[in-house]
């Protein structure tokens, strides 16, 4: 990992002069709102691709925006992009930070230069007077919605295999916290709790190991769809039925289209949404700020659903499914 970090630093040092000289055509005197958008790499995940496409659809000339998009999964590169946007004197800086730390100085510069900052998707560790608003998912609430659903299933006993995401990520923390809390309160047994680092195959190995150790379980709580898929594969291999009215309940997160189709086919039971469609919220916030309104709350939480295999419809799959 260190090696990767070193190389990215070296690479960014090579790239930046090109970036700085390449985008000098800004500063047109039109009345478009000038927005600099810094996002994570669209290749990161299907979620990110949906997020990027959604932003691109909203921030167009037709909608009154002159938007410039920059992508990086490296914090230092993102900070350099932000500095460039501030030099270019954009009106708004929309930011989905790669890392929570290290943003204080550059955001202070933005404030001094009169650039309004709106965070989306990810929060940062900086005083909240440095940005206008943050539009984020409430990962704990996502977890709570899922756990509430699980509670309502009224199983005789709860024996849960808990497959965690990459430890320390916001999604893992929020989704784990909700389950751990309720399990403690209601005396649910967590048979296995392991991190699969979001990987399908590792999740499959974890569930396989639990089956081989002859552990009893009736719920799989996987913190994303990929891992739920791996768990289901292990169950299929051991002839353990899963889905609506079957032996094991499968729960996933992120609402990939293929995962919602599993719900529709009654093979999985629940899928929690992590809403990538954030441009509407951003657009709304910017319009409010432009009209001189004050925002009621600094942190705006995205509306996020949880889908139940018993009630999901084809229309839901089409509307909320991520990816093709």
């Amino acid at each position: 990992m260190n090696v990767r970090g070193f190389f990215s630093a070296a690479l960014s040092a090579l790239i930046f002069p090109a970036v700085l000289s390449g985008c000098g055509q800004s500063g047109s005197g039109s009345d478009l709102i000038r927005v600099g958008i810094i996002n994570n790499d669209p290749n990161e995940s299907g979620y990110r691709t949906a997020n990027v496409n959604d932003l691109k659809k909203t921030f167009t000339k037709e909608n009154g925006y002159d938007a410039d998009f920059k992508y990086s999964m490296k914090n230092d590169e993102q900070i350099a992009f932000a500095q460039k946007f501030i030099q270019d004197e954009v009106d708004y800086l929309l930011l989905s930070a790669a890392d929570t730390a290290g943003w204080d100085t550059v955001l202070q510069d933005a404030k001094t230069a009169g650039v309004k900052v709106i965070l989306f998707d990810r929060i940062i560790d900086a005083p909240d007077d440095l940005y206008e608003a943050s539009i984020v998912s409430d990962m704990v609430k996502e977890g709570e919605t899922a756990v509430e659903w699980l509670k309502n299933q009224k199983l005789d006993q709860y024996e849960i295999i808990h497959i965690q995401g990459h430890l320390g990520s916001a999604a893992q923390k929020g989704r784990s916290e909700a389950l751990e809390k309720t399990a403690k309160e209601l005396g649910w047994t967590i048979v296995t709790q392991q991190s699969a680092d979001w990987s399908t195959e590792t999740a499959q190995q974890i569930v396989q190991a639990s089956i081989d150790a002859k552990k009893q379980f009736n719920v799989i709580y996987a913190e994303n769809d990929d891992m739920a898929k791996g768990a289901a594969a292990a169950l299929d291999k051991a002839n353990i039925s899963h889905g609506v009215g079957k032996d094991v309940i499968i729960m996933g997160f992120d609402c990939n289209k293929w995962a919602l189709e599993k719900l529709l086919a009654q093979e999985w039971n629940y899928d929690g949404q992590c809403n990538p469609f954030q441009s509407g919220y951003l657009d709304d916030t910017i319009k409010k700020l432009e009209n001189g309104e004050t925002l009621k709350e600094k942190t705006i939480y995205l509306d996020e659903k949880g889908f139940d295999a018993a009630t999901i419809t084809q229309a839901d799959v089409e509307k909320y499914g991520i990816g093709s």
């Binding site: 090696v3 995940s45 392991q194 680092d197 195959e201 089956i211 291999k237 293929w258």
Partner: protein
């Protein structure tokens, strides 16, 4: 048969075993097995159970280890050759697996019939070998340190993999494609195991019946001397990297066949580190020269054994890496040449007076 000669035979067997580097991963494997035997003997139970389609399959921890360790074992073959020839390691194999998997899925997602599987496999292998050749030529002809040369692909590889499929999730409808990461009809043993075995046999035969092994070793030990003896070190290094590329291609094909899907940023994450570790656990010199592919493969299965053990024990998820690190430190220190020499010397000293007493 008089006593002295049989004692001498025993002694030579003992020295031979001691000198043989395969002893290190073997000892590690036995240690892990013993540990599991004490904790829970049922760890080793294997049963024939039907899957959800009623097909009988072998299942059990040992089968899981052999199954999931396959890709790592295949990579360890190539990594050993690269290490021996160039005295450095390729850190781009994880990224190359992502690219290979992406190519396979790209070809199969457009195809209607199972007939495309073989072409997809061949194209994947060819492409992976090309990437291997790219790495190899940087090392062989431009004389860049292997780790630095392969950093390029390490950094760019996953983006390239995503780009191949326009960063979308390809959908593969082929019924036969999952055979390669799963089970062939009527055979209860996972297919990746056969593929790994096949790769090992081919490599072994290649080393046995050609001079490749000797050449690789010669170049790794002393490049100048091997050139003076008429070898072309550049081409030998290049071919080692091309072979590693092929290994990554095969591993990528198996990986995507397992789930018929791909996650570009997650697939085979950090596998390059495990592959290098397998080579180290196999007792191979990481600075090039002598090597033993069997020991590396065994090293790969030791790593998978450790992973499965940790999953079975259900140690707290945030401390899994710490446990793994402790075991790895112990294993690597024990297999370090200096420690081995010290141990061997110690053993010899203790045996010497005993033998003297016997012969007197």
């Amino acid at each position: 048969m008089n006593t002295p000669s049989s004692a001498a035979a025993q002694d030579s067997l003992f020295t031979r075993l001691r000198r043989h580097q395969i002893l290190i991963p073997l000892a590690a494997l036995l240690l892990l097995a013993l540990f599991n035997l004490i904790i829970d003997p049922s760890f080793f139970s294997i049963s024939l159970r039907p899957n959800n389609e009623g097909v009988l399959l072998l299942s059990g921890n040992l089968i899981s280890i052999l199954d999931y360790g396959s890709e790592l074992a295949i990579l360890a073959l190539g990594m050993t050759l690269v290490t021996a020839a160039s005295g450095g390691q390729d850190i781009s194999v994880g990224a190359l697996i992502a690219i290979s998997g992406s190519i396979t899925l790209r070809i199969l997602s457009g195809a209607q019939s199972d007939a495309m599987i073989l072409p997809a496999f061949l194209i994947t292998c060819a492409a992976a070998m090309l990437f291997g050749a790219f790495n190899g030529s940087l090392v062989a002809f431009f004389r860049i340190q292997p780790m630095i040369a392969t950093l390029i692909l390490f950094t760019a590889g996953r983006s390239v993999a995503a780009w191949i499929n326009h960063n979308e999730q390809p959908f593969v409808s082929s019924e036969r494609f999952p055979y390669f990461g799963g089970y062939l009809p009527g055979i209860p043993v996972p297919t990746p195991l056969f593929i790994a075995l096949f790769c090992f046999l081919v490599t072994w035969l290649l080393l046995k019946f050609t001079n490749l092994g000797l050449y690789v070793q010669a170049v790794g030990i002393n490049e100048k001397a091997s050139r003076l003896n008429g070898l072309n070190p550049a081409w030998i290094k290049l071919s080692a990297f091309v072979l590693l590329g092929l290994c990554a291609g095969v591993a990528g094909f198996i990986k995507v066949s397992r789930t018929a899907s791909i996650n570009y940023s997650v697939i085979a994450n950090n596998i390059e580190m495990d592959a290098i570790l397998a080579v180290a656990l196999g007792g191979n010199s990481l600075s090039g020269g002598k090597f033993n592919i069997g020991a590396s493969v065994l090293g790969a299965y030791v790593i998978q054994f450790l992973t499965t053990t940790l999953f079975t024990l259900n140690v707290q998820s945030d401390s899994v890496s710490a446990y793994k690190a402790v075991v790895v430190i112990i294993l690597v220190v024990c297999s370090a040449p200096t420690v081995r020499e010290k141990l061997a010397a110690l053993l010899k000293k203790r045996r010497a007076p005993k033998q003297a007493g016997q012969s007197a």
